[in-house]
């Protein structure tokens, strides 16, 4: 294994600070965030609402520039969006309503001018991965909330980036769909072994999915703790009622509450 491929998919954040200024008032959003995510890990970030976890994700995606600090993904600095390195899946409303599911998935490829036939093949592969090849020609308004999010995931994965960032991707879904989407995501992750950084406000969801959970404090967002989730894989729903799961949940809850 070369040094390069060892870095592939790793994410490193050092001393990240972000100050948001408007109308002469400044507000510290992120305070001295440093973290390391190993390649192929599933890591969740939890914290009270407004703690800056989504802002942090936007910076990891290269969409927002931090006031200071450094972000490296796959060994290279992140200074602008780079969908071949980092795929992003947003909360909702992120599919283009005027494009079919397949055209939505092809969108990032077409931005790069990828050949039409290649584009189509890759999009169909990505849709097959999320189990939606039969819905390729359907438009977003014809799909359910869960299906739309699966198309979003397919779009995030279509360029096969080693890193996938997810910003509360299932927050707008109902409980039942959310749980089945979690299993679906774990299945995809198991198959592709991407590095996943998953922002959520659901503690159970974070524990159920992750190898590690990073806990953030309220504003200004600081990293409070890093909790290793030692539940065996593959995960299943029964684990949610084990004492260990409850223990982990309590541990996270106590930190977020304080």
């Amino acid at each position: 294994m070369t040094i390069d491929s060892a870095h592939q998919g790793a994410v490193e954040v050092s001393d990240l600070n972000h100050v948001y200024g408007a109308n002469g008032q400044t507000r510290k959003v992120l305070d001295g965030i440093s973290l390391k995510v190993e390649s192929g890990k599933f890591v969740s970030i939890v914290g009270p609402s407004g703690c800056g976890k989504s802002s942090l994700l936007m910076m990891l995606a290269g969409l927002t520039r931090p006031t200071s600090g450094a972000i490296r993904a796959s060994g290279k600095p992140v200074d602008k969006p780079d969908p071949q390195r980092i795929g992003v899946v947003f909360q909702d409303a992120s599919l283009y309503p005027w494009l079919s599911a397949r055209d939505n998935v092809e969108f990032p490829l077409s931005l790069r001018g990828v050949d039409k036939a290649v584009r189509r093949d890759k999009a169909m592969d990505a849709l097959a991965l999320v189990g939606l090849e039969a819905f390729a020609e359907n438009f977003p308004h014809e799909l359910s909330g869960g299906m739309k999010q699966r198309v979003s995931i397919a779009r995030g994965l279509v360029q096969d980036p080693p890193i996938l960032l997810m910003d509360e991707p299932f927050a707008a879904l109902d409980e039942q769909t959310r749980i089945s989407m979690g299993d679906e995501l774990l299945r995809i992750w198991d198959k592709t072994r991407k590095t996943v950084i998953f922002v959520t406000h659901g503690l159970s969801e974070a524990i159920y999915l992750s190898d590690e959970v990073l806990v953030m404090s309220g504003r200004p967002g600081r990293l409070l703790d890093r909790v290793e989730i030692d539940l065996p894989r593959p995960r299943n729903l029964e684990m949610m009622s084990t004492p260990r799961f409850a223990e982990l949940r309590e541990l996270l809850w106590q930190q977020i509450k304080s």
């Binding site: 800056g52 969409l63 992003v88 947003f90 707008a172």
Partner: protein, 263 residues
């Protein structure tokens, strides 16, 4: 029978009644024929002078078509720029809104001085007349699109140009179409009004000419042609609007959905 069906039937009845009244009122002497010639005599005038009407309709159509290209094309392009750029908006939008409030028809005599009384002055006037509402509507449409759609495009590496062409343009199509309807209708009005004021050809010119000759049937025949032109244009835009109906609804519901928390 649904409410819509009943409304539609009532609407047809109303139009039918108006047509019948148009024929009957002058025939019964309730309204002098000079003020309102019967529909049959209007149609006779239309058929009787078909050649004249056709050639003048051609002039009006040509002027309208060119004006639509300038008014709608220009309005959409500049509306997109104004909507997308805060700096341009701050600079230009108050001026444009101010201009829109001015009755531009007072400028028409100037336009004839600058561009002559031929087609050019009509095209320029109608273009300006239809340009402003199209521009303002498009700019407003760009400003109200879901910013999230742009963030998503950026995350996928879209350049600013790609953001405009691939996201702003399709996302604003619904508002662009409704401003197109308004702007286009005004461009048609602009052409006809300009022709009525000072010209040598066109449907507006015919209206003016037959009015001075006190030939009401021909005046009304020309008015029918203008109506026909406006309605045809409106139906065309409506059919375009219908094609985007499906996803337009979902675009609206997206706007109502909560955006990402904690940004």
């Amino acid at each position: 029978m649904s409410v819509e069906q009943r409304a539609r039937i009532a609407r047809y009845c109303l139009v039918g009644a108006l047509v019948v009244l148009w024929e009957l009122l002058p025939r019964l002497g309730v309204v002098p024929e000079l003020f309102l010639p019967p529909l049959s005599r209007t149609l006779q005038a239309l058929v009787g002078s078909a050649d004249e009407f056709a050639s003048h309709l051609g002039v009006t159509l040509y002027e309208t078509l060119i004006s639509l290209v300038f008014a709608c094309g220009g309005g959409i392009v500049f509306g997109l720029i104004l909507g997308a750029s805060a700096a341009m908006r701050g600079l230009m939008l108050p001026i444009m809104s101010g201009l829109f409030a001015v009755p531009l028809v007072v400028l028409y005599p100037l336009f004839t001085a600058w561009f002559g009384i031929g087609e050019e002055s009509k095209i320029v006037f109608a273009s300006v007349y239809g340009f402003l509402p199209t521009l303002l509507g498009t700019a407003a449409g760009v400003q109200t699109i879901d910013r999230h759609l742009i963030t998503v495009a950026r995350s996928m590496g879209a350049t600013p140009f790609q953001q405009i062409v691939r996201v702003y343009v399709p996302a604003t199509i619904p508002t662009v179409l409704s401003s197109l309807r308004l702007g286009g209708a005004l461009a048609i009005v602009g052409v006809v009004v300009a022709e009525m004021l000072t010209s040598t050809a066109g449907i507006g010119f015919l209206i003016s000419k037959y009015r001075t000759l006190l030939d009401s049937p021909h005046v009304f025949a020309a008015i029918l042609l203008v109506l026909f032109l406006a309605i045809t244009f409106d139906l065309m835009v409506q059919s375009l609007e219908r094609r985007t109906l499906g996803w337009r609804r979902s675009l609206r519901s997206n706007e109502l959905a909560p955006s990402g928390a904690g940004h």
